[in-house]
């Protein structure tokens, strides 16, 4: 009985491919959207910290210049 219903009248292969591909598309879109968002955040955070580092170094040089 269980085997019969899982065989889906002989169409189980086609049905599982259709549902499998759709599940992959659904999960893939979600993972890709989250990954892209995190990557964007990370890329710009790194740029911000590099900028802050450069600004600090410039301030340091300016202070040393004034002192000498």
């Amino acid at each position: 009985m269980m085997e019969q219903s899982l065989a889906m009248g002989g169409y189980a292969g086609y049905i599982s491919v259709a549902y499998g591909v759709t599940a992959l598309v659904i999960l893939g879109n979600l993972v890709a959207a989250r990954w892209r968002f995190r990557k964007t955040q990370q890329r710009f955070r790194e740029q911000l910290s590099r900028r802050a580092g450069r600004a600090e170094a410039q301030n340091g040089r300016a202070t040393v210049g004034r002192e000498s």
Binding site: G10, V17, V21, T22, L30
Partner: protein
């Protein structure tokens, strides 16, 4: 209404709104997906002609509907971007394209595996199938065109024009089964009279269509956040967000 519309043009507002909306859409979407899948695979009776193969309808029809709905959303967003020069509308349009392309791909694959046992072939140059394939190429063209430009403003304008021109394909897909002789079956739900499908089979389909729609808006909101952040990186609010300060001022 217009105040609400123009508030969407404010990047920090849209960024904050998209962050809230993504979960509000995604949680019910996954609940409905579970209910619809159970209803479609277990509760719905087999079709008297197609047997259990008809159960592919529960992923094929929502994917097909989404592939067209996303394209129209993309074209409308592109048109708003062109007419009102609303840059965030272009961000929405750009975020639609990969989601739409993936669901068009899903439509073609699920259609092919449904076609094999029913028509005896995975593919036929039938008007419905061919116009859906053209839709996939339109999505690819849109994404390719965007990435061909270094200047984001030029990319926005050119891709919006392509999206608007390509929207003519959407009614062709929809009406192709009426206008031309087609292997593909006629519309099940879009007729003006009552649907030609029994309620036992219909409710899981409606649940899946609603689930896919909610899912699209949830993923779109996630993608729009990233797109807005990338476009607005030079602005003070975006840098505050990256430092962990909320765009609306709240910690």
């Amino acid at each position: 209404m217009w105040t609400w519309f123009f508030r969407l043009a404010s990047p920090p507002h849209l960024y904050a709104l998209a962050g809230k909306l993504s979960l509000w859409f995604l949680i019910p979407a996954f609940g409905l997906l579970a209910v619809g899948t159970w209803g479609g695979l277990v509760l719905a009776p087999p079709d008297y002609q197609q047997g259990d193969a008809f159960r592919i309808i529960y992923v094929h029809v929502p994917s097909a509907y989404l592939s067209m709905m996303i394209y129209v959303t993309m074209a409308v967003a592109g048109a708003i971007g062109l007419i009102w020069r609303m840059k965030l509308a272009h961000a929405v349009a750009a975020s639609c394209a990969p989601i739409g392309a993936s669901f068009t791909f899903a439509t073609l694959v699920t259609g092919a595996v449904w076609g094999k046992p029913m028509w005896g072939t995975y593919w036929d140059w039938d008007p419905r199938l061919t116009s859906e394939l053209i839709l996939l190429f339109l999505y690819f063209g849109y994404m390719g065109l965007r990435s061909a430009y270094e200047d984001i403003n030029q990319a926005d304008r050119a891709s919006a024009i392509l999206a608007i021109a390509g929207v003519a394909n959407v009614p062709i897909i929809h009406f192709s089964v009426i206008w031309w002789a087609s292997l593909h079956q006629g519309p099940t739900l879009s007729k003006l009279e009552a649907p030609s499908i029994s309620w036992d089979m219909l409710w899981p389909l409606l649940a899946m269509i609603l689930a896919f729609t909610l899912y699209f808006f949830g993923v779109l909101a996630l993608r729009v956040r990233g797109e807005v952040l990338a476009r607005e990186f030079q602005s003070r609010w975006a840098q505050d967000v990256l430092r962990g300060i909320s765009p609306t001022g709240a910690k």
